[in-house]
């Protein structure tokens, strides 16, 4: 089991008012799974992703990532978990605008203390994996939206994380580029990468093999892809 979330609650305090955002969320993800968490805005899906991504702590509950009890870790240890076990992909890419594609991809490696030469090799390999080896020296402004997102995916993958965590990965892309990103996710999943994707778009969610719906902070049972296919057929 890669992800194991048990009875996760998250409350926000707003002007002395306690607003519950997540209510008793249970989620298990096995290694090699491709999971989508779908919900409208305000449903608590971003909060859930922040918790899975070790950026936020739940108010109560239990959370294990690859067997490690995340909630007992200190800030510094959480940084290491984010560095080595989680690869983030964001809606708005978040590339460093003044750095080349290659430098962007090698950024996590520098935090991991990897030597310069090896950094370059591994970053180039990750770029090759997303099909952008010929854009290594390009600046983000010289890349299309889809290419930027692929650079971001290469950056997320460069440390060989246990899980790829994507927040609306196609949200800022046209449908054609979005489809290419979904193809890339499929390819990575076929290679054994565990993917957790958060989206409000059911078309995008349908690319995952398992879809959870989250509404008002409550998560529904998974809908297996095979079943949806049957329905469509």
């Amino acid at each position: 089991m890669i992800l194991d979330l048990q009875h996760i609650f998250k409350d926000y305090n707003q002007d002395k008012l306690v607003v519950p955002v997540l209510k008793d969320v249970n989620l298990q993800v096995e290694e090699g799974e491709y999971v989508a968490i779908m919900g409208p805005s305000g449903s608590g899906k971003t909060t859930l992703m922040n918790i899975i991504g070790c950026l936020d702590r739940p108010t109560s509950g239990a959370f294990e990532l690859a067997g490690t009890d995340i909630l007992t870790l200190k800030d510094k240890e959480l940084s290491n978990v984010r560095l080595n076990s989680i690869g983030f992909v964001f809606q708005s890419f978040h590339l460093m605008p003044k750095e080349t594609a290659l430098e962007n991809v090698s950024l996590p490696l520098s935090y991991a203390g990897v030597k310069k030469k090896e950094r370059k090799e591994r970053a180039l390999k990750a770029l090759t994996r997303v099909g952008l080896e010929d854009r290594a020296t390009f600046m983000p402004t010289q890349l299309s939206g889809g290419q930027k997102q692929r650079v971001a995916i290469a950056r997320a993958m460069v440390n060989n994380p246990k899980i790829l965590l994507a927040d609306e990965p196609t949200g800022a892309l046209d449908s054609k580029s979005g489809a290419q990103i979904m193809e890339l996710f499929q390819k990575l999943n076929d290679e054994g990468v565990t993917i957790v994707m958060i989206t409000h778009d059911s078309n995008i969610a349908s690319h995952a093999k398992k879809v959870y719906n989250i509404i008002d902070g409550e998560i529904s049972q998974a809908v297996k892809k095979e079943e949806t296919h049957e329905e469509e057929n």
Partner: protein
């Protein structure tokens, strides 16, 4: 670390104007300090050079009675003060850094004549053969003293330029006879310092300080001394040392050795080394105290510059909130972010420091051209200035960097 420095240069370069304006406070402060320090150092070196003379590392040691040099009357050497013998000379020559030593006799003499011309206040010195090499004199014309001059008590004399000018006024003195205390001496040669050194005189005060020694000197063999004076007179000693910085210590050691042989009932009778370094320092201190005030004032501008750096770093942190959030999300620790911003602040102010040193040197050169004040660039001051400006960057960068490191990544990523 290297990665941080690379990022810093990139960041500074991408905001050239802003970075330059931020650095300006540091540049002005450092430039002012370097210019002041250079003028102080230039003045000090000139004072030292004027007093000591460049390259002539000799120290004079004389017998003092209280605060004044011992004045010979008719009574001869005071009781308890022995004549400097070869054993004492050996001991003195064995002092560290002493290259040579020579004992000589000296008197101020008013009765020196060539025909009807006299010099007043000239010095007659009875010297041995080692004196001229120890004091770096060379024979400019004629000859020096020979072995026979000493052994046969020949009445021969050497003149320096001042005494020959005064006595002969352009006439050729070689072979001519002069009278010292009514005894005739034949001038056999003219001596001169091997390195002629003219003190730089910028003001009337300088003139009084440096030009007291202009009356001439007349040298005779020490064996002929008793012909005009007496046997066994107190001697002076001149030692030559390796470098200027050895002068004080070697001079003291030599005086101590001589004093260990003194057994006079008069406690005030003592050999003392004239300490030119000490004199130079005293004059230097006068100019230094006013200038150190200026340095403090320039230091205030550095603090103002540092606050400017802090201000811009705070703006920079706000601007780069997203970048910081992303970096933290992908695994950067607080220390990574802290390091990045501290490095940026330190690189910024170090660059300001380097530019300040360069402008300071230019400023100092301009000052020296315009006011004819001497300047000397101090390498330690330049290095110190750059290190100090780096420290300013770190000190004033701590608060903004800490703020950056403490940002909540969720908040930071959400901000557009």
């Amino acid at each position: 670390m290297l990665e941080n420095i690379r990022l810093s240069f990139k960041g500074i370069w991408s905001h050239k104007m802003r970075s330059f304006l931020t650095m300006l406070g540091i540049i002005i402060g450092i430039a002012a300090i370097i210019a002041i320090v250079s003028t102080i150092k230039g003045t000090n070196e000139q004072i030292k050079e004027n007093l000591i003379g460049s390259g002539d590392n000799t120290v004079e040691i004389s017998l003092y009675q209280g605060d004044w040099t011992y004045e010979m009357g008719y009574e001869g050497i005071p009781a308890g003060v022995p004549v400097i013998n070869s054993q004492m000379m050996e001991e003195i020559k064995n002092i560290d850094h002493v290259v040579g030593a020579s004992a000589y006799l000296s008197r101020q003499e008013y009765e020196v004549y060539h025909l009807n011309t006299s010099i007043s206040g000239g010095n007659v010195l009875g010297v041995d053969n080692s004196y001229f090499s120890t004091c770096n004199y060379i024979i400019r014309r004629g000859r020096g003293f020979s072995q026979k001059d000493y052994s046969q008590f020949r009445k021969v004399a050497l003149l320096d330029k001042d005494s020959s000018d005064a006595l002969f006024q352009g006439e050729d003195p070689l072979g001519k006879t002069i009278e010292i205390k009514k005894e005739p001496f034949v001038v056999v040669g003219i001596v001169e310092k091997s390195k002629i050194f003219e003190p730089t005189i910028n003001s009337i005060e300088d003139y009084y300080t440096y030009s007291q020694d202009a009356s001439g000197k007349i040298y005779i063999p020490n064996t002929t001394w008793p012909i005009i004076y007496q046997f066994d007179e107190p001697q002076n000693l001149v030692i030559e040392v390796e470098s200027t910085d050895d002068m004080t210590n070697a001079g003291k050691s030599a005086a101590d050795i001589l004093n260990s042989y003194v057994s006079s009932s008069d406690e005030t009778l003592k050999y003392k080394a004239e300490d030119l370094l000490e004199q130079a320092k005293q004059i230097q201190q006068l100019s230094q105290s006013t200038n150190s005030m200026l340095i403090w004032i320039a230091g205030i501008s550095l603090i103002v510059g540092g606050i400017g750096v802090m201000n811009i770093m705070l703006v920079s942190v706000t601007e780069r909130t997203q970048e910081i959030g992303l970096k933290k999300a992908i695994g950067a620790k607080k220390s990574n972010i802290l390091g990045q911003f501290l490095t940026e602040a330190a690189v910024l102010t170090s660059m300001g420091g380097i530019m300040g040193v360069i402008s300071g040197i230019i400023l100092a050169e301009v000052i020296s051209r315009l006011s004819e004040m001497p300047v000397a660039i101090s390498v330690p001051a330049a290095v110190g200035a750059v290190v100090f400006s780096m420290a300013i960057g770190i000190v004033f960068g701590v608060f903004p960097s800490y703020k950056a490191a403490a940002l909540d990544p969720i908040e930071a990523l959400r901000r557009e």
